[in-house]
């Protein structure tokens, strides 16, 4: 006897996503960008992003330097890819931090309810009123200067690459992540608030399950849709924040590179060498565009009620 297989939320969502042409193209664009940023630099095809050659600065695109070279004669393509690694990494790690904080905060607030909920949400209201960019600039300078102080000590016990990551990249991720969780907290709270009234949660309560079990094993897995959607929409925002900070000179510091730094340098040579701005801009905008389209598509696929189409 053949049993009719029901469709899960995920297979339904996948089908809906596949029908959304822009979102589906975006997914492949993102896979492509991640692949070239993280895999291509490891192959011998690509020059080192830090190798300078002043005799060959501002070279036009050629077989050796596919996108030409920059003001210091560095290979532009390898710099775009290397900068992409940093930008994407900062976006992803910062998002991860903000998701962890936002989901736990929102879940506890919504689940506990009552006075605690009122107070917790009031705090979020106040934090929401603080100007994001101003605090990000302040915090990132404070945290990076603290990290710099520990640099010599860390260098004794760890390889240089990891120390560089901890001292130069991690403070940015922490700053953005710690300041960017408010919306996620609100989203999760309102979801949990409505879910906890459902019968299956009541059943879990009457079975005597612990609060921890009910919240994290019964309620939260049901909120995965909105969480995924909002995560996808957070990443481009954070990549943009990193780029803004680096553009203003308070983000990633040279000789490290990121798309924000490249856009800043490119803007300086805009008059005479527009390619230096145009190439990083295209990759940067394409990444953000794809992430935003994918986020929109995921919202339509996972949360049909929230989509306004």
């Amino acid at each position: 006897m053949k049993i009719e297989q029901g469709n899960s939320l995920w297979s339904d969502a996948w089908l809906r996503l596949k029908k959304n042409r822009m979102a589906f193209i975006s997914l492949w664009v993102l896979v492509f960008i991640f692949a070239i940023c993280f895999i291509l630099p490891a192959t011998p095809l690509i020059n080192s992003p830090r190798h300078t050659n002043l005799a060959n600065s501002f070279a036009a695109p050629s077989a050796e330097h596919w996108l030409g070279t920059d003001q210091l004669g560095r290979d532009l393509l390898s710099r775009v890819l290397n900068g992409g690694q940093v930008s994407l990494l900062v976006g992803l790690i910062a998002t991860l931090i903000s998701i962890i904080i936002g989901v736990s905060y929102g879940a506890i607030s919504g689940y506990k309810g009552g006075k605690l909920d009122t107070i917790m949400m009031r705090i979020v209201d106040i934090l929401y009123g603080l100007p994001f960019l101003i605090l990000v600039i302040l915090f990132s300078i404070v945290i990076s200067s603290a990290a710099k102080e520990h640099e010599p000590k860390l260098l004794n016990s760890m390889p240089e690459g990891i120390v560089n990551l901890i001292v130069n990249i991690l403070p940015l991720c922490l700053t953005i992540g710690f300041l960017g969780w408010y919306t996620m907290a609100r989203v999760v709270r309102s979801q949990v608030l409505s879910t906890k009234k459902l019968e299956y949660v009541e059943a879990a309560v009457s079975l005597g399950l612990s609060h921890k079990n009910i919240l994290f094993k019964q309620i939260l897995p049901n909120q995965l849709g909105p969480i995924i959607v909002y995560t996808t929409l957070t990443i481009p925002g954070f990549i943009l924040t990193e780029a803004t900070l680096s553009f203003l000179g308070v983000g990633v510091q040279p000789p490290n590179s990121s798309w924000g730094i490249m856009l800043n340098e490119g803007a300086n040579y805009m008059e005479t060498k527009p390619l230096l701005l145009i190439f990083p801009s295209i990759v940067f905008a394409l990444t953000l565009l794809a992430l935003n389209f994918l986020g929109d598509g995921l919202r339509d696929a996972l949360d049909p009620k929230a989509s306004k189409d």
């Binding site: 100007p131 960019l133 302040l138 856009l263 803007a267 905008a285 953000l288």
Partner: protein, 303 residues
């Protein structure tokens, strides 16, 4: 309604106090003090300077002192520029406000009509086209658009300049650069809000009664449909006024942006605190205005 306003005002005051307190202690957590960079300073001069700026006292004492002066209307002196903070802000704040407000106007003038038209022509070429453009506007940051404008527009149009802030013509490119991203967000939010309202029963009732399409849109749909867009205006303004840091850098505009980044890096305590205070007040006031407008538009918020 009065209760809402008082409530929001109180919340705004808490926001400003939190902001100032955070700034005060954060900037002092950066190792060293504002005077360490001055190499030529003799120990006596240094000591004297520390005394003048009260930097020799403990942080809580400095903090209390700062508030006391603030209530007297004094923001202190810039440590690096040797000028009163109020003077520096008096010169640069109006520039940032003009830029922020004109950016906001651009965002509203482009974003809201685009959103309304998209909603009315739902799923048409206009709708899809303008939503695609809106997505571009969200994804392409001002520091890419700005230099492109400078290169391809400012050099072509005779009365536009690549940089500077002399006559009102100089306002055009920076405000467009600043406002475009927000316009894109506004268009998307307006469209979503309008679509939500247009699908409701009372609109269908009005259509069934034979009310003209224009009248339905203007009298019935707009009021509710614009609520999400107006709720977004407060955060949008905060985004714009701080986003102006970037635009000011691109077009070399003498606003607060340059001072802000420098003051943070150079640990110019009083200048930074003064600027943060003004930004805080401005953002709180705009949020308040948006909230009042919102209660006026949405009767459900009035009770």
């Amino acid at each position: 309604m009065l209760k809402t306003i008082i409530d929001r005002l109180l919340q705004g005051i808490i926001v400003i106090v939190c902001l100032l307190t955070l700034t005060f202690f954060l900037i002092r957590m950066i190792p060293g003090d504002p005077l360490t960079d001055e190499k030529a300073m003799s120990p006596q001069v240094r000591k004297e300077n520390m005394r003048i700026f009260h930097l020799d006292k403990s942080q809580p004492v400095q903090y209390m002192h700062y508030w006391k002066n603030l209530f007297k209307g004094e923001m202190g002196k810039s440590i690096k520029k040797e000028q009163p903070v109020s003077k520096i802000i008096g010169q640069s704040f109006p520039v940032s406000v003009v830029l922020g407000v004109s950016g906001m106007l651009i965002a509203i003038v482009i974003g809201i009509p685009a959103g309304i038209i998209s909603a009315l022509k739902h799923n048409s070429l206009i709708d899809n086209g303008s939503m695609f453009i809106a997505m571009l506007g969200i994804s392409i940051p001002s520091f890419v658009i700005g230099p492109l404008f400078a290169k391809f527009i400012a050099t072509q149009v005779p009365f536009l300049k690549v940089a500077g802030w002399g006559d009102p013509f100089d306002w055009i490119l920076p405000s467009i650069t600043l406002g475009l991203g927000t316009a894109a967000y506004l268009a998307r939010i307006t469209r979503a809000g309008m679509l939500d309202i247009l699908s409701q029963d009372f609109i269908r009732t009005a259509q069934a009664k034979g009310v003209s399409q224009t009248s339905i849109i203007v009298k019935h749909a707009l009021k509710g449909g614009l609520v999400p867009a107006i709720a977004f205006l407060g955060p949008a303004f905060a985004m714009l006024i701080t986003g102006s840091f970037v635009v000011e850098t691109i077009f070399q505009i003498p606003g607060m942006g340059q001072h802000f980044v420098n003051a943070t890096i150079e640990r110019d305590y009083f200048l930074l605190q003064g600027m943060v205070l003004l930004f805080g007040i401005l953002i709180v006031l705009v949020n308040l205005a948006a909230d009042i407008l919102l209660t006026y538009l949405n009767p459900r918020l009035r009770s």
